[in-house]
Amino acid sequence: MQSRDSRLQTPDDGEGREGYRVSPAAGALRAPPWLRQSLSIYLRLQEVEPGRSVPAGRRNNSLAVEIVADREIWDSFIDAGPSGLLFHKWDFLTITQRHTGYAFLPYGIYKGEELVAVCPLFCRQANGISVVLSPPPMQAVIPYLGVVMGREYATAKQSKKESMLQLMADGIGEAVRDLAPNYLSMTFAPGFHDIRPFIWDGYLTRINYSYAIDLAPPLETLWGNLNAKLRTSLRRFEKDGYYLEEGDSLTRFYETVRQRFSHPEMDIPMITRDYFEDIFHAYPDHAHVYHLYDRDGDLKGVGTTLEYRRYILWVGGPKINGTSANEYLQWCLLRDAKAKGFSEFENTGANNPNLNMHKAKYNPDLAIFFEVSRKDGVGRVAEWAYSNIVNRPLIKRRVVPYIR
């Protein structure tokens, strides 16, 4: 259980980075200008006084939604529960804030003294339009984010789960009312399936898919489960002396991906290299880059992984010189995940009809995840403009600062 008493003691990301800063002891408040008023109101509502962060009168209330401004409390909560991912960790979120320009609002939903759920929201106001997102638009680099329920949720009985979910949804509803966005979207991680409180509250829903491979069976079984043609192909790479190495630099990964994605037939904008550098620097034990070489030491494949709780095949490189070496790279990573003791290997891309037949060859299970959204008239216009105008690669590169 996380106590609320210390939630405002460490006000920023611990490294003095930009973004808002809530420091009740000093009475200081640094936030993006448009957010200052909300936070100011929030603090007044909390009646925060130096040395006492929670008004005694509110401690026994059944619901409270508050900014968790303490990295340690946030990360301890994510570490303790079964469903939080690396995307949900404090530094990942603050790095994302810094690069995207969206303000990171780390909401915690409390029942009495107990932190029962957290929800990182990213807010931005531009041209009179207020947007709240989780995750912010990151070219699928963060495929999902949204709510993380506490450890107790997974083992609770259904009736208790439903009351916890309603509490969480009420808390988010309260936070969203204060932010009053024109457009709101949250995409939850696979496994977070009960979105009824949002449906009942009038949110629109969207269904998404990912692929997950259960790593519990022995490696021989996983191998036997592969598509027969894929096994033949993998044997050939093995015979030809292809080998995997972990890289210590993002240079080759970034250049390979950037060059390929900038080809006219693809023309996919990339998140800036600095973003990846910062994530890898922040999580050297969890974010990795791997290179696949042929017998002569020529690079044949490159991919990145996030290795925290589940082994996620993150941003992958395209085919190099038209070979299907990426198939072997993926098998090598699957073996790596198994050897490291992970229980699940996730391979995003199941929503894409151009990728799914390739990815299905590894005999994964389908994992489902949901997006919920709501928008007013202004938000609908903004969504249309983003999808039809801003989202064009040429324009996107000019107007979105963290995309090249």
């Binding site: 259904q158 009736s159 439903e162 399936h193 009824r196 598509n227 590894y362 005999n363 389908l366």
Partner: protein
């Protein structure tokens, strides 16, 4: 791979019986009775891979005031999920084979649907059918829906101990009250209680037609049971209709009857006991989409199971859906036509 119209009851029902996810709603007579009472045309498709059927897909089409609608299931039938049923063999395939077969089956069915030129298409799939990507890629709108299931492959003691403690107390009290459970095929009390309740205009839910309900019970006397709970004075305390085919499905219940007993709770518990004793592996309790019911139903500590609905409509379909929901359904209900 082609979709072929099936005209043989035995072939269809054998496939449904052998499939892991086919429900009573999918059976031949059930579908034909549904077509008859909804005045729609049943199109019972089977999709073959070589000589082997890999799925069956019952579609209903109806032309209403110039609007072509294709459904599975049709509205106002109290059929929560229908859509396609995959073969037992399909479940044993690897994911890549599954995806290629699903893609071909979706394409075959899409061609048949296109021939019908519907303004409105609506399909609610069974919980086991969770890969609706081909419909998403075909620009259908999709919704997730929920139902409650209780795993009966556990001891009754374990199921009992998982109930909410307040529910257990109610059940213990009800068990001492001398309540009596009876199974019958008589729908009169059930129908009277349901229609009385749904006549409340605030509910906006028309009840199932009595003739339709009677025909279904008559067609499947061993598979549809009307369970009534009586008190010591032979007063009705609770009534439900259940499907007993592959899973024990608590299908239609009545609203709470004003008595001193926790009738609905106790009846449900007795049916869980009965289903478990008869070897059913799953007890399904519909109602998880209704915020007014979940508080009651979740106290049995069920699992939450998802299923998906897809919908596609052109401008005419959109207008007709709006008109239907706004006027037609209310008029029909008021006139007791549905």
């Amino acid at each position: 791979m082609t979709a072929i119209r099936v005209d043989d009851r035995a072939t269809w029902d054998t496939f449904i019986d052998e499939s892991p996810s086919g429900l009573l709603f999918h059976k031949w007579d059930y579908l034909h009775l549904t077509a008859k009472h909804t005045k729609s045309t049943l199109l019972p498709y089977a999709v073959y891979h070589g000589d082997e059927p890999i799925c069956v897909f019952p579609l209903f089409c109806r032309r209403i005031h110039g609007i072509n609608a294709v459904f599975s299931p049709p509205p106002l039938t109290v059929i929560p999920h229908l859509g396609c049923v995959m073969s037992r063999k399909f479940g044993e395939f690897k994911q890549s084979k599954k995806e290629s077969l699903l893609g071909m089956a979706a394409k075959s069915i899409r061609e048949e649907i296109l021939d019908l030129s519907p303004n409105y298409l609506s399909i609610a799939f069974v919980p086991e059918f969770n890969d609706i990507r081909h419909y998403l890629w075909d620009r259908c709108d999709a919704r997730v829906r929920y139902t409650y299931t209780i795993n009966l492959e556990r001891s009754l003691e374990e199921i009992w101990s998982n109930l909410h403690y307040k529910l257990r107390n109610k059940l213990k009290k009800a068990a001492k009250a001398g309540l009596r459970l009876e199974k019958s095929g008589d729908v009169s009390t059930l129908y009277r209680l349901i229609s009385d309740r749904y006549r409340d205009p605030s509910l906006d839910i028309p009840p199932i037609k009595r003739d339709y309900l009677e025909d279904l019970v008559h067609a499947y006397p061993d598979r549809i049971g009307i369970y009534s709970l009586y008190d010591a004075q032979d007063e009705t305390v609770a009534v439900v209709a259940a499907h007993e085919y592959k899973r024990f499905l608590l299908w239609m219940g009545t609203p709470r009857i004003e008595t001193v007993h926790a009738g609905n709770e106790y009846l449900q518990w007795l049916l869980i006991e009965r289903a478990q004793a008869e070897g059913y592996r799953t007890f399904e309790n519909m109602g998880a989409n209704n915020p007014d019911l979940v508080f009651f139903k979740s106290r049995f500590n069920p699992d939450l199971t998802m299923y998906f609905e897809i919908e596609k409509k052109d401008a005419l379909g959109t207008v007709s859906e709006w008109a239907y929901l706004t006027f037609f359904k209310k008029l029909m209900t008021a006139a007791d036509r549905v």
